[in-house]
């Protein structure tokens, strides 16, 4: 690949957040978790299946918004290896790994259709997060049903 083509793909941003090393194919779900849709005002760049040193990855660049730690950590549910780079004046000011939160609210829908959190009650879904060898597992605070695979499919 020529240098000029590569530059076009990963153009630096002036201020904002670059989320790197997202599990390949999960970039759009990352946007979903962060509540970024087509009506958001800032510029958002998405790179899917970009070749990286450790295989393909996705990258998301959000201009003009610095992610808070708890926002960033939610991403770990679907992209546990993601890194967060806070950019100011084209420089990386802060670089950190996402941390798996112990508890999440209002991000994932319980897979049990008869769970009270799926009714019209005034509550958000809540899950205890467990980081097991087999992967991340979510246990519903209300009905205790466990989601152990395809978490991205159950994002709210």
């Amino acid at each position: 690949m020529s240098a000029s083509k590569k530059e076009i793909r990963v153009q630096p941003i002036e201020n904002g957040t670059v989320i790197d090393h997202i599990t390949a194919g999960q970039a759009l779900n990352v946007l979903k978790i962060l509540g970024i849709s087509g009506v958001s005002s800032g510029v958002v760049s998405v790179l899917i299946n970009a070749p990286g040193e450790a295989g393909n990855k996705d990258v998301v660049k959000i201009e003009g918004r610095e992610l808070e730690a708890d926002e960033a950590d939610r991403i770990s549910l679907i992209a546990p290896n993601a890194t967060i780079n806070i950019i100011r004046d084209f420089e990386v000011q802060e670089k950190k790994n996402v941390e798996i939160p112990r508890h999440v609210e209002g991000i994932v829908k319980c897979i049990n259709s008869n769970c009270i959190s799926n009714s019209n009650e005034p509550v958000a879904s809540k899950f205890e997060v467990r980081n097991l060898k087999s992967g991340i597992e979510l246990r519903c605070d209300y009905c205790e049903r466990v989601i152990s695979e395809n978490i991205a499919e159950h994002l709210l």
């Binding site: 008869n114 769970c115 009270i116 009650e121 605070d141 209300y142 009905c143 205790e144």
Partner: protein, 291 residues
């Protein structure tokens, strides 16, 4: 904590039998919110509060209450908490009691949340085992519908606090879910599975029967075949140990022959009664009348 509740129930048993009178819950009101039909759970809670001198406030029919107008459970709970000192809730959805506890200013007692939990049944089952047999070193056979029966699932988890040898007796279609069996083994319980009632009852202290529901089977013939294979009769009990006790959460249909009722093994009506002292203990503890 489990043992403390069972100890408290034992202290209150004579009051439950009406041999002694008590008014330790005088002036207290228990709200009974049953969004699903139930006879024995509701009645034993009502008996429990009345035996301790308290009063009952009943939701009445769901069809004519505010719920029929679309009120959320959260709002119902906030309103009823203002009228009462504790709320007993049965609801068809899993997690309802947990949700109620988030909106209530008074204690919530879960009397069944869909296919989720029915903890007061588990307490009374443990109490029955303790009173009629023994909890430590227990050998128990659980028979019938082990797939959908939340009662047996909860009882197994509760028994894991004491250690037990568990034999599961069920037809292939109604086997206990493998993840629960794995959980129980991880908690140190010995679990074996069989489809033979004869072999299962020979060496156990307690046989816990559950009802096999007709609607779980594709046709009546299949149901009858399974129901007959699991049926307890006086003849079958000849091979059981003399002190073996038979429990059942009731209502029963055909799984226990009425001829068994007169044998010293039958314990299910005692079990049903024990719901009263156990629920008295829970009410006295959550309302602060006992410590």
């Amino acid at each position: 904590m489990i043992d403390h509740i069972l100890d408290t129930a034992e202290q209150l048993e004579d009051i439950a039998r009406n041999k002694e009178q008590s008014d330790i819950l005088a002036g207290k009101i228990l709200a009974v919110l049953f969004f699903e039909p139930s006879t024995r759970t509701r009645m034993s809670f009502e008996t429990a509060i009345m035996r301790l001198g308290g009063n009952v406030l009943n939701l009445g029919s769901v069809d004519i209450s505010s719920i029929a107008k679309g009120e959320s459970l959260a709002d119902t709970i906030r309103v009823v908490a203002g009228y009462s000192n504790a709320i007993v809730l049965r609801h068809p959805m899993e997690g309802a009691a947990k949700l109620a506890s988030e909106f209530s200013s008074v204690p919530i007692l879960n009397a069944g949340d869909g296919a989720g939990h029915h903890p007061t049944q588990t307490f009374l089952d443990l109490y029955t085992i303790r009173r009629e047999s023994h909890l430590e070193g227990l050998k128990i056979a659980l028979a019938g519908d082990l797939k959908y029966g939340r009662t047996v699932h909860s009882l197994c988890y509760a028994l894991s606090h004491y250690g037990a040898d568990i034999t599961l007796v069920s037809p292939e279609e109604l086997r206990m879910p493998q993840e629960i069996i794995n959980d129980l083994k991880n908690r140190g319980l010995n679990v074996t599975e069989t489809d033979s009632m004869e072999s299962a009852i020979k060496d156990v202290d307690v046989l816990y029967m559950t009802r096999v529901q007709k609607e779980r089977f594709p046709d009546d013939a299949e149901y009858q075949k399974v129901a007959n294979r699991l049926k307890i009769t006086p003849e079958l009990l000849e091979s059981a140990r003399s002190e073996m006790k038979i429990m059942h959460p009731l209502p029963r249909t055909t799984e226990i022959d009425p001829g068994v009722d007169a044998t010293p093994h039958a314990c299910y009506f005692q079990q049903s009664f024990y719901g009263v002292p156990v629920r008295m203990a829970l009410l006295a503890l959550v309302m602060g009348a006992m410590e």
